[in-house]
Point group: C2
Chain length 229, copies 2
């Protein structure tokens, strides 16, 4: 398989992603965005995506880690993984990669207007295995740093045997949309006097204190990138 | 379309879900579980799923709310939603519904052994629209209560117009598996003396203080089900 083209660098103020039939939602179109900075910010705020593909005609949705480098996403896994093997065959694997952050529970006075504040990105495209050694190394570092910025430089890089067991898959950001809901509940005027509490319960990821491994040398201090949490 | 069969009640100690070709993972089989209680606990700990289906031969992964009632999951949405319309046609819509909770970032001394502690459930099956009015009402209450237990009784139920605009889709728990990783990093013996911090950074959902709507009557107290957060 030919190596994929180099990923174009992200540039602030660049044109939005083009809207296509499958990136224009049938519902709540006012929540859709094709702005690159908005999409990048949502992708960079997470590290777990849900990767959808078709196997034997049926959909499969796998949770997995990812990273963004410019206008390209990377996913990695075992060379034995079924979707990653599929991405190594021509013409690659048709995927839909979705990232979702929940920001709040929106409690309206009516059951019907209950909602969720969220930010999500959906990427449609063809995933292809990365074979170039330099791009593979960049991608693997990016996945580690996407989960915890600063960590890639503070661990042993993969050796030849580990690299041989790891498949890296690339998905270009070409057919992409974000969907965002913010704000409070939107009750119908006739419900405003109902006696139910209404508002938003904010939700965000919480981090507990780091738990050292049992065999950690106690002279090794907690690194700064963990101290921030 | 015929009404779906009644959902079997969940019974503690029931037989596990049968393993099938598509619920046995190719990788990390020791992390897979088919235990009903384990699956139910993971499903009940969340409220956002990623619903995969196939449209025009390509995968689509949508984040959406869900609820579990016994051995059946419910998803709701607008009657105009594409997947929900598909579930209203015979023979229903082939879906894969995945729920994922991240419990920790696992930092090993080697990049290769970095991992995530997580609990996920993957459900394969055919989603069908629910037409029975009583089952629809149960499902809609369940979705509200799944997000925030106790809330369904403390808001105005959907009226006829709202019910007519809402599609409810059911997915039976028949082909189901959980995947769970717990514990610390598993470094190779030759890496144990490397000078990198190693352990787990715990992750869990965090809730901020409830934010009342601007038009909330200040005499309405914060309900107990919100006070618990």
């Amino acid at each position: 398989m030919a190596a994929p083209p180099p990923s174009p660098a992200s540039s602030p103020g660049a044109a939005p992603y083009p809207a296509t039939d499958r990136t224009v939602p049938t519902r709540s179109r006012e929540r859709a965005s094709y702005d690159r900075d908005a999409v990048h910010a949502i992708l960079d705020a997470g590290y777990v995506c849900h990767l959808g593909f078709v196997r034997n005609g049926a959909p499969v949705v796998l949770p997995t880690l990812y990273a963004r480098v410019g206008e390209r996403l990377y996913v990695h896994g075992s060379t034995g993984s079924r979707p990653l093997r599929g991405a190594g065959e021509d013409p690659g694997l048709a995927v839909c990669l979705t990232v979702t952050h929940v920001d709040g529970l929106v409690l309206a006075r009516s059951a019907f207007h209950h909602s969720i504040n969220y930010r999500s990105v959906m990427v449609h495209g063809t995933a292809r295995q990365v074979t170039d050694p330099a791009e593979r190394a960049t991608a693997l570092d990016a996945v580690v740093d996407h989960v915890l910025p600063g960590r890639a430089a503070d661990c042993r890089p993969a050796n030849a045997k580990e690299l041989a067991a790891t498949a890296v898959v690339a998905l270009d950001l070409t057919e992409v949309s974000a969907k965002i809901r913010t704000g409070g509940p939107s009750d119908d005027p006739e419900d405003l006097s109902l006696p139910h509490w209404t508002g938003v319960l904010p939700v965000s990821p919480g981090y507990g204190p780091p738990v050292p491994a049992d065999d950690l040398d106690p002279s090794i201090a907690l690194p700064g990138y963990l101290d921030r949490h």
